[in-house]
């Protein structure tokens, strides 16, 4: 069976500094993978490469066996929404409707299309906010709007870049529950720096700090983590927190 995402020998440098070096990665249907690693370890770059927002220096990325530019139509993408203009005068349902331009960007968006947006807003639990301006929502609510936008085209893979930054702890917990539900019907790839939370949620964990360590399981050895974080870290089975035993070198 074709993997839904396969990455071979991926390297990327920014301003002559290597960000990712020779990364191998693969995930299949039904996977829920978390990519963890220190800040600046290349996690967001990894996601941007997969979404085709930046081009690799070398290596190949295939989505559903296709090049990124065509395969990404089957991917729902949740960016770090601090990068989005949150003051933009736009209503919640309009944010979701924008996604319908995929595949035919000259199509017009009609009243009857709104039902599609409403269905997915209901799925993520914020249908009641559909006529509110995006700028008036809380962090957690905004997160759900962008999640609805990612889901409206019925993707087979959902890719989330640090979905819990700038949302409060309660919103974080309910987001995780929602992701668990969504995992029933699609594969999920999530970037996070929150090890303890994701280890309960996912079935595979990859560690990324310029190089990737990924065993197709969520078991990580102390050696794995030390290699990725560049410092000794405490390891509790399944909990996988990131306690420093010594200060970073």
């Amino acid at each position: 069976m074709t993997p839904i995402l396969s990455i071979q020998d991926l390297s990327y440098a920014y301003a002559q500094k290597p960000v990712l070096t020779n990364v191998q990665f693969e995930m299949g249907q039904g996977d829920f993978v978390a990519v963890i690693g220190p800040n600046g370890g290349g996690k967001s770059t990894f996601i941007k490469l997969i979404m085709g927002l930046i081009q690799p220096d070398s290596g190949t990325i295939r989505l559903f066996g296709e090049p990124v530019e065509s395969g990404r139509r089957l991917v729902g993408y949740l960016p770090q929404f601090q990068n989005v203009d949150l003051d933009y005068p736009i209503l919640v349902e309009e944010v979701v409707l924008m996604s319908l331009l995929q595949g035919n960007w000259l199509r017009s968006i009609r009243r009857k299309d709104r039902q599609l947006a409403w269905d997915v807003l209901e799925k993520v639990g914020i249908l009641h906010l559909k006529d509110r301006p995006l700028s008036a929502l809380s962090g957690g609510e905004k997160q759900r709007v962008f999640l609805a936008r990612a889901l409206v085209n019925q993707p087979k893979l959902l890719i989330l870049d640090e979905p819990t930054t700038s949302v409060d702890i309660q919103a974080e917990q309910s987001l995780y529950r929602l992701l668990q539900d969504l995992h029933q019907s699609l594969a999920i790839l999530m970037v996070s720096h929150d090890l303890s939370a994701v280890s309960q949620l996912v079935n595979k964990i990859a560690c990324l700090n310029q190089k990737m360590v990924f065993h197709q399981t969520k078991e990580l050895t102390a050696q794995d983590l030390e290699e990725v974080y560049g410092c000794p870290v405490a390891l509790i089975a399944h909990g996988v927190p990131h306690h420093h035993l010594e200060s970073h070198g």
Partner: protein, 266 residues
Amino acid sequence: MAELLSYPFFQNALLIGLLCSLVCGVIGSFVVVKRMSFISGSIAHAAFGGLGLSYWLGFNPLLGAMGFGFLSALLMGMIRFRFRQQEDALIGALWAVGMSIGVICISLGSGYAGDLFGYLFGSILLTSDSDLLLMVLLNILVLGAVGYFYYPLVAITFDEDYASVLNLPVMALYLGLLELVTLTVIMLLKVVGTILVIALLTLPASAAANWTARLRVMMMVSVGIGAVSTVGGIFLATFLNFPPGPVIIFVCSLFYVASLLIHSKD
């Protein structure tokens, strides 16, 4: 007042003012939400270079302005996508170069200072029927394009990265938007002149942005503010014997100040 309204030049001025408010409110809203006022100002000043060149060589200044405007918009769009690091400095340089070419060329021409003043601060009371016809055509073109490409334009101005993930032709759309800004700037040159173009483009939309959180409403409100400011400004300037361009901008700025003092987005 009735007597004033019976003069064709005054009727032309009012009609052109209203037509300009229409494109200005719509395009100005995109300029404000996408934070393109610097790039728009630079297009206006680059267009001034073309204005000066055609004035010197003796052909229609609007054609010169359009040529320079289109080219500079294209160039600045490319700069934005290819040389993002130096975007700010390069756009600032184009601004200054356009301005200097314009002033040099105008000084090489007849040297009549009144013309220079008109290009810099507008000359809405000195328009012809052909100006009016051109304004009508430009209005149809700009508003038609925005109507046809409305959703893609919203998509790229709201979230460019996501638009490219959706496989929208982001760069082509952005360049297209810049050319629409150019057409709008060319129209506004006649009304308020090179130096005040950005103010007319951004003040009504910025005021509207403080009163609504819907882009369509923002456009309509800025059209309204623009219309009141141009018509009011033209009357006020005529009665006070002031230059109309600066008076129009002053009225606009009153709306903006009001929106800062009293604002509610619901």
